[in-house]
């Protein structure tokens, strides 16, 4: 490796040396033009000297450039033209010197073409080299928009893609990679591997850079990539070295991905996403990862429409949730509710997801019928005489998300049952025997549950 180190050492003089031939050659040409104006005089020796210096430095720069390319940081395809045009320029500069020092008189055409060719090559070669060092969009990044358009430069969106549907999202492909693409991959790609790291290809990314792997799956403190993006920004090891650092959300996302095993294939849907990460993902990608309401995921056959018609005759208003949806939204709105009517409802119980028995004569004993509706997500029992016993029975409803008990006979004793309803997200207890203090205590204990106690009537 020592040989390669020496090669790289000399190679790195290339950026220093390249500026010399540019200066010498342009100087030579300028003097020549100046002299051309004052006809009759013999050509100055200065011109020959300038060409000589230009030729020597061009050859040296080409040599160092060749050595620099040896270290493999640059892909052959991207430096091909830079390499051979550079060698061409060195050769041309040497040829130019040879003509100038020769005592033979060459036709004007030869002199002029060499001059213009050298100027052209310096411009092209300089730009190619600059692009290699600073990146594709360096030159025009801050140019006026009209100029960018003229050169077909697409304004690079520094924002992340907005995702619509959780189902098709692969964590690495759709979230981690686009994030790395905006901040890291500019210097760690197929063309250029700073520190020997290529983040463009997943397997090379896993392999790491010249100091070994940068990711330790499941272990962020040991992951070099995480360490480097979270260093103090003044630290010279901080990544990215220039441009915008990773945002808080992006660092959190990276951390979460590494802690979950840094998997390149796993889908987002396969992850259990903690609430804090749900918010991060929402902010970065505009993607709502909150679990879907139960009624959107359930698949069952439709209820018997004849049975439903008879329910309507009994005073229930029956609506499907949506077109072609087997789930039902049912409300009792006709006269007196009886146990017989509720029992009839139970025949279609599997299909009921929203049920309102608000203001009815429902009794605690009848609630056991409702507590067997497996897909019930929203239950309205407000302004009825149900008590704590009913709430205990309702604990059997695994998917209940919203429970309205305002204006019922429930008391503080129902709170312990409510606390254990893990899927419950909203409960309404205004105007009941539940005290404000205990409702707040439950609220503090269950942050994922909204406990609505309402305004006080005092």
């Amino acid at each position: 490796m020592l040989a390669l180190d020496i090669v790289t050492f000399f190679g790195r003089f290339h950026p220093l040396l390249v500026h010399l031939p540019i200066g010498f050659l342009l100087l030579a040409i300028l003097i020549e033009w100046y002299q051309g104006k004052k006809e009759g005089k013999e050509n100055s020796k200065l011109i020959t000297y300038a060409w000589l210096l230009g030729a020597i430095s061009a050859n040296l720069a080409a040599l160092c450039g060749w050595l620099l390319a040896e270290n493999g940081e640059y892909a052959e395809a991207s430096i091909f033209w830079h390499r051979w045009l550079g060698i061409g320029l060195a050769a041309l500069a040497s040829f130019g010197w040879w003509i100038k020092q020769s005592s033979k008189h060459f036709p004007k055409l030869v002199n002029n073409s060499i001059t213009y060719l050298v100027i052209g090559l310096i411009l092209v070669e300089g730009h190619l080299g600059g692009t290699l060092t600073h990146g594709e969009d360096y030159l025009l990044a801050y140019a006026p928009e009209s100029l960018q358009k003229l050169f077909g430069e697409e304004k690079k969106e520094n924002s992340l893609p907005q995702l619509e549907n959780i189902d098709s999202v692969v964590v690495y492909r759709d979230m981690i990679y686009p994030m790395l693409a905006t901040k890291c991959i500019g210097c760690h790609n197929n063309e250029e591997q700073r520190g020997g790291l290529n983040m463009y290809l997943a397997d090379l990314f896993m392999e790491g850079g010249e100091n070994g792997p940068v990711i330790a799956p499941g272990n962020t403190p040991e992951s070099e990539i995480f360490r480097r993006v979270t260093l103090r920004q003044e630290n010279e090891k901080f990544m990215p070295p220039n441009g915008e650092p990773l945002s808080y959300d992006e660092i959190k996302l990276l951390e979460w991905w590494i802690n979950n095993g840094a998997d390149f294939e796993k889908e987002l849907a396969g992850h259990e996403i903690p609430i804090s990460m749900q918010k991060v993902i929402q902010r970065l990608f505009g993607l709502d990862t909150q679990p879907k309401p139960w009624y959107e995921s359930v698949k069952i056959p439709a209820a018997d429409s004849l049975r439903l018609k008879s329910l309507v005759d009994e005073g229930f208003s029956v609506k499907p949730l949506g077109y072609g949806n087997p789930l039902l939204d049912i409300k009792f709105s006709g006269g007196k509710l009886t146990m017989a009517k509720l029992t009839e409802l139970a025949d279609s119980g599997e299909n009921i997801t929203w049920l309102s028995l608000a203001g009815t004569d429902i009794k605690d004993e009848w609630v056991s019928i409702i507590s067997k509706f497996p897909n019930l997500t929203r239950l309205e029992l407000q302004k009825t005489r149900v008590s704590d016993d009913s709430v205990e029975l309702l604990g059997a409803l695994e998917h209940l998300e919203s429970l309205n008990l305002y204006g019922t006979n429930v008391t503080d004793s129902c709170l312990s049952f409510i606390k254990n309803m893990t899927q419950l997200r909203r409960v309404y207890l205004w105007g009941t025997g539940v005290t404000y203090k205990n409702a707040k205590a439950l609220q503090n204990e269950r942050t994922d549950l909204e406990v609505e106690i309402g305004v006080s009537s005092e």
Partner: protein
């Protein structure tokens, strides 16, 4: 018998279209589901059991079952209520830079002004709640519930004068004649309570403020006429001509309607005019409303602390506060679309003084309505909307003095807020520039707002259409994108 019985209302063309399409639809259905065509256990279609409404609607599960739209007619100044622009105070009195206005058209009221002095607000702004929403001191009650609200600060419209702008917001077209939002909702979704209209309108009494409201704003346009909004008034007769005249009792009325029904049935068989059905439906509705309306309008059963919540005004029939209370009572009875109008926001001059009065009229009741719905668990499926028809300019109309100014109409940006089912709470969508003149982030067009509203109700705004004069119309015409960012 009539000899023209067989061709009474079908032309040859009608017959061919209807039968061929009908057969087409039938064969299509059987192709898609050969077993299902005559099956008994087919999936229940919404209109089979619901009260009216169209087949296939809702298109998808609704997040919202009813809407209370608190329309602030005249256009409240977003710059003095929600959209905090300190730059305007810094540059107070300086001319609006032409580069900001960008040639935007002005109304005839200020287009002749020699200068457009920027007018900073005279009211203090503070951030409130966990969401940190900016609100001015003008709305102390609403400020307390900002964590329930979703602000859209980037609303923009096309009209620059009141009538076209309200008509645009309410019907999707600046030109009168299209059905209003409530009528579309009634037509598409039908009723949840057969004893009350699906679409009710309440207008604050005695607040004309120079800008009239026309009943066509809640009109049915070309939809069948039973879908028009029914205005409930304060006072002895909430719905005009609803009570029986002296000497006629309920039994008499029922008898009369039954006979009329039979006659009209014959009439309809004869000439087939759908408006006959619409009219009979309205007669029947009116009959049922004779008992349901007095019950809902009599708020004497509300406890005192509820009145205290809505404010002193809520005991005076016809005020905005009393209407908010009524709106809640109607929502409890499943009225689908409840539209309140509160006029008087058109402050071309003397804005600082006039806006205080307006806020005093509306602030407490608005906050109380949302809080009240919340404690009853009704924000679970009720949406409340607060907003006007456009915004107001950042420059003063007329003379700008240290304690007085006016603001002209401004269609390029305005703020509305919503609360309730299906939308995120405690968020602000969109932003305007530092001058409060142009939208710079996530513009929301009136049609986008309408599309979102329909989406929340479970309706695809592109699929709820009505064919009239050879063209299919919809609320959002050929525009409108659902604003997904605010959906919960």
């Amino acid at each position: 018998m009539c000899t023209h019985h067989h061709n009474k209302n079908y032309s040859r063309r009608d017959f061919l279209t209807k039968t061929s399409l009908g057969m087409g639809a039938l064969s299509m259905a059987s192709m898609l589901d050969p077993m299902g065509l005559f099956a008994q256990n087919d999936i229940l279609q919404p209109s089979q059991v619901a009260g009216g409404g169209l087949n296939g609607i809702p298109h998808f599960p609704p997040r919202v079952k009813r809407v209370i739209y608190l329309f602030q007619s005249g256009a409240p100044s977003q710059l003095d209520l929600f959209d905090y622009k300190p730059l305007l105070n810094k540059m107070n009195g300086q001319d609006l830079p032409e580069s900001v206005r960008g040639g935007q058209r002005l109304t005839g009221m200020t287009s002749g002004q020699a200068s457009f002095p920027l007018a900073g607000t005279l009211f203090n702004f503070k951030q409130h709640g966990q969401s940190g929403a900016w609100m001015s001191d003008l709305m102390p009650h609403t400020s307390k519930i900002v964590d329930e609200l979703c602000f859209i600060k980037s609303m923009h419209t096309e009209a620059i004068n009141h009538d076209p702008a309200i008509t645009f917001l309410q019907t999707g077209s600046q030109i009168p004649g299209r059905p209003s939002i409530g009528s579309w909702v009634s037509y598409g979704l039908g009723t949840d309570n057969k004893n009350l209209p699906e679409f009710v309108v309440l207008v604050t009494k005695g607040k004309t403020g120079g800008q009239p409201l026309y009943s066509r704003l809640w009109g049915n346009g070309f939809l069948p006429s039973q879908h028009q909004g029914v205005q409930f008034r304060s006072g002895k007769d909430p719905v005009l001509y609803l009570t029986n005249p002296p000497g006629i009792d309920g039994i008499n009325r029922r008898d009369q309607l039954d006979h009329l029904q039979q006659l009209e049935k014959l009439n309809h068989q004869d000439i087939g005019d759908p408006e006959i059905i619409a009219r009979m439906a309205q007669y029947e509705m009116a009959y049922r409303m004779q008992t349901s309306v007095p019950k809902i309008m009599d708020t004497s059963d509300e406890p005192d602390y509820i009145y205290d919540m809505y404010g002193e005004d809520s005991k005076k029939p016809g005020t905005f506060a009393a209407n908010c209370l009524l709106a809640r009572r109607m929502a409890e009875k499943d009225v689908k679309f409840i539209q309140l109008y509160h006029q008087g926001w058109d402050q071309h001059g003397n804005l600082p003084g006039a806006i205080k009065v307006q806020c005093k009229d509306t602030d407490q009741a608005t906050a109380a309505l949302i809080t009240d719905l919340k404690q009853r668990g009704m924000l679970e499926d009720t949406l409340v909307i607060w907003g006007g028809e456009f915004g107001r300019t950042n420059y003063s109309q007329g003379q700008l003095t240290p304690d007085n100014f006016g603001r002209d109409h401004h269609p390029k940006c305005f703020t509305i807020f919503m609360a309730g089912a299906g939308i995120k709470k405690g968020i602000t969508l969109g932003a305007t520039d530092d001058f409060g003149y142009n939208v710079v982030q996530r513009p929301v067009h009136v049609h986008d707002f309408q599309a979102t509203l329909m989406h929340l109700l479970g309706v695809d705004h592109e699929r709820l259409t009505f064919k009239f004069q050879g063209r299919r119309f919809r609320l959002t015409d050929v525009h409108g994108e659902v604003v997904k960012e605010i959906l919960a």
